[in-house]
Amino acid sequence: MRTGPDSVGPLPPAGVVSSPPEDRRPTTSSSTPWLVLLLWLVAGGMIGRSPLRADLWDDVRSRGVLRWGDDAEGGAPYLFHPEDDPTKLVGFEVDFAAALATRLEIRDQFVQNNWDMLLPALRQGGSFDIVIAGLERTPENLAKADLSRPYFVFAQQLVVRAADTGIRSLDDLRGRPVGVLSATASHRLLERRGTVEIRVYQDNVNYFRDLEVGRLDAVLTDTPIAQVNLAGNEKLRAAGPPFEPGYYAVAVPPGETNLLARIDQAILGLTTNGTLQQIYTRYGLWGAEQEGLRKWTAPAQVIRRQRSALREWKTYLPMLLRAAVTTVWVTCGGMTLAVIWGLALAIVKQYGPAPLRWSATAYIEVFRGTPLLLQIYFIYFGLAQQLGLKLSAGLAAVLALGLNYAATEAENYRAGLLAVPRGQMEAALALGMKRRVALRRVLLPQALRISLPSVTNDFIAMFKDSSIVSVIALVELTKEYQIRAIDTGDYLGLGLLTAGIYFAMSWTASLGARRLERFLQHDHR
């Protein structure tokens, strides 16, 4: 549903962020999903629930505190830091949680957790008892946790640029780019329809920005998000009425029937006594559709058990492989740029005239000394906002990876140039070569051979580093893994599939690199 509205950049969950550029040198094929897997196992081992415990509701009652998990980067109107006092946390979910706890005659306590990882953390137990985070009451979510009766009715809202008066519904957007939040009802709806070009985002701010600058033609999102973001924004408008209503529900750990029953009862009470209406009115969210809360009855549920990606590999492997194609071309594109631009930088830094030399040095230091993530944001969002330079996500990704790695490659080449014996340059000059010719005919062929192992190492490292480009709505392998893992809850099985694909890619690259090295070495002898 939502994360990170006003943070500098929404980060993927801690375990999935690829390592910063400084320590990307290690060349083992450990792909990021392994890290997730490891964290998952460690977390499971350390804070796994005790089998002797009576029942979660007993715990909560004796503690006198109901701990609810959510992501404080969630944003208005769910929970947010008001502009006039950033130390406070407000929002309709904050008020709802308080009302819920009061109804249960205990206190409530907010626990911060990354949005993507809320349900896995809930299942692990230990840090919070329930999740109140705009979770949709969908079969996918029911497979991962037990869900209460609804506390809010939302619907899908299509948002377009105010100037695009022709667009009324999704049918008017065939083949055009539409932004959605990763792993949400909106995302699944677009996937089911399959008629538009889906662009997946990690937060609910950047897709509105991209819509304004024209990278997207529409955004499909939940009504509360649309409402907040359209208020006072003249550039955007709602296209057509809300559709496909759904419910937000409270999640409790699977099997905690007692706690679930208490919470259901409490929500029903808050619904009938008008408390929910009061809260939602305060945030401008109350509407006729919320009558659905009162009338709601639990449907006969076909609860899909947690799915196994390994057993259903025929479904999931092609999805992951399609995403791997993106990883491959972003990496190959980025590396091609890095190899060429890096060479230019190395030559200028080593042999150029003073002002150019300083510029090359400055470039290398800046690009090596700042996070790749920051550079991606700068290139994708910064350039579009400040200069009107709207690069596509793919181009921005290739540029960011290429410009960043060029700095590293430049240093690799320089090391190679410095490793060529001095006598080579002297022999070339003694033959009457100009410096430029000596460089091209004598020094570079030898230097490139020397730096080849470092360059191929970086190529393999970039396969893993490329996962960072998912922050600009590019679904590559790690992002696809994240989306599917959140969908199925099968972090382990999907992780193994994904890691397998990463391994296959790096292994192929290493094999190719080794062959190239051997070929050139043979050539050398």
């Binding site: 014996p421 006598g423 080579q424 002297e426 022999a427 070339a428 000059l429 003694a430 033959l431 009457g432 070569m433 100009k434 410096r435 010719v437 005919r441 004598v442 062929p445 030898q446 051979r449 050539d523 050398h524 002898r525």
Partner: protein
């Protein structure tokens, strides 16, 4: 052919060349001897501007360079085109075959087409006795073979003079003879050579004149017979005595 006037070079306080004068006629081969570290290599390298002298003038054939002022790159290059250089450590291009090493200069410095240069290069390889090694890389050749390729590489540029810095010193004694042989023939053919060596056998074989270098000066000069067998200067006597 080669004229050196008041050539000076210092590294910090250490005056390696102290106003050295030297004249050498066409087809004359001159051998420079002297103790290690006395500045022989520096002298050769200053002649073709691999080292920048502090002062003095160098003339090779029709090109004169005044070293007191900054020297233009193109003038440097013209000087180098007239003086081929052979190094103690060969410095062949390791990524190219013997033949390609020889073709490199004519094709990529002089811009001559391969079809024209290749017969010449093969002829040079034959002259240094390496016709069967044309496709070998330097790492597949012995030291003596490498040095002969290096000599052929220098000759391919048709230089007016050849500067050789201890061409046999890096070689095992049994491999020296093949290089001496090549150099003897070059001297006989009238190549103008300035040769630095510790190899007295070689010096005797090729030198028209021998110079003894010491303390930044040429302290003795004469025929091989005069300098090697009847040295006048005490430092020369000391050097040859050991």
């Amino acid at each position: 052919m080669i004229t050196v006037e008041k050539l000076s070079k210092a590294y910090g306080d250490h005056r390696v060349l102290d106003a050295v004068d030297h004249r050498q006629e066409r087809s004359e081969s001159v051998v420079l001897i002297g103790p290690s570290g006395c500045g022989k290599s520096t002298f050769l390298r200053c002649l073709n501007q691999l080292e920048t002298p502090d002062a003095g003038r160098v003339t090779i054939d029709d090109v004169t360079v005044d070293c007191a002022r900054p020297v233009e790159r193109e003038l440097q290059r013209q000087l180098r085109l007239r003086a081929g250089m052979v190094f103690q450590q060969f410095h062949l291009f390791p990524h190219r075959t013997a033949l390609e090493n020889i073709l490199e200069g004519p094709m990529h410095v002089l811009g001559r087409p391969r079809s024209e240069v290749e017969p010449e290069a093969l002829d040079l390889l034959a002259r240094v006795g390496l016709s069967d090694r044309a496709g070998h890389r330097p790492s597949q050749l012995s030291g003596g073979q490498q040095q002969r390729v290096a000599i052929a590489r220098a000759l391919a540029m048709k230089p007016r003079a050849l500067l050789l810095d201890e061409p046999t010193s890096a070689l095992d004694p049994e491999l020296r003879e093949e290089v001496r042989d090549v150099l003897r023939r070059l001297a006989d053919e009238g190549m103008t050579m300035l040769l630095v060596t510790h190899d007295l056998q070689l010096a005797r074989d090729v030198a028209d004149r021998i110079l003894f270098f010491h303390g930044g000066h040429i302290v003795e000069s004469g025929t091989p017979d005069e300098v090697l067998d009847h040295p006048q200067h005490p430092r020369t006597q000391e050097f040859l005595g050991q």
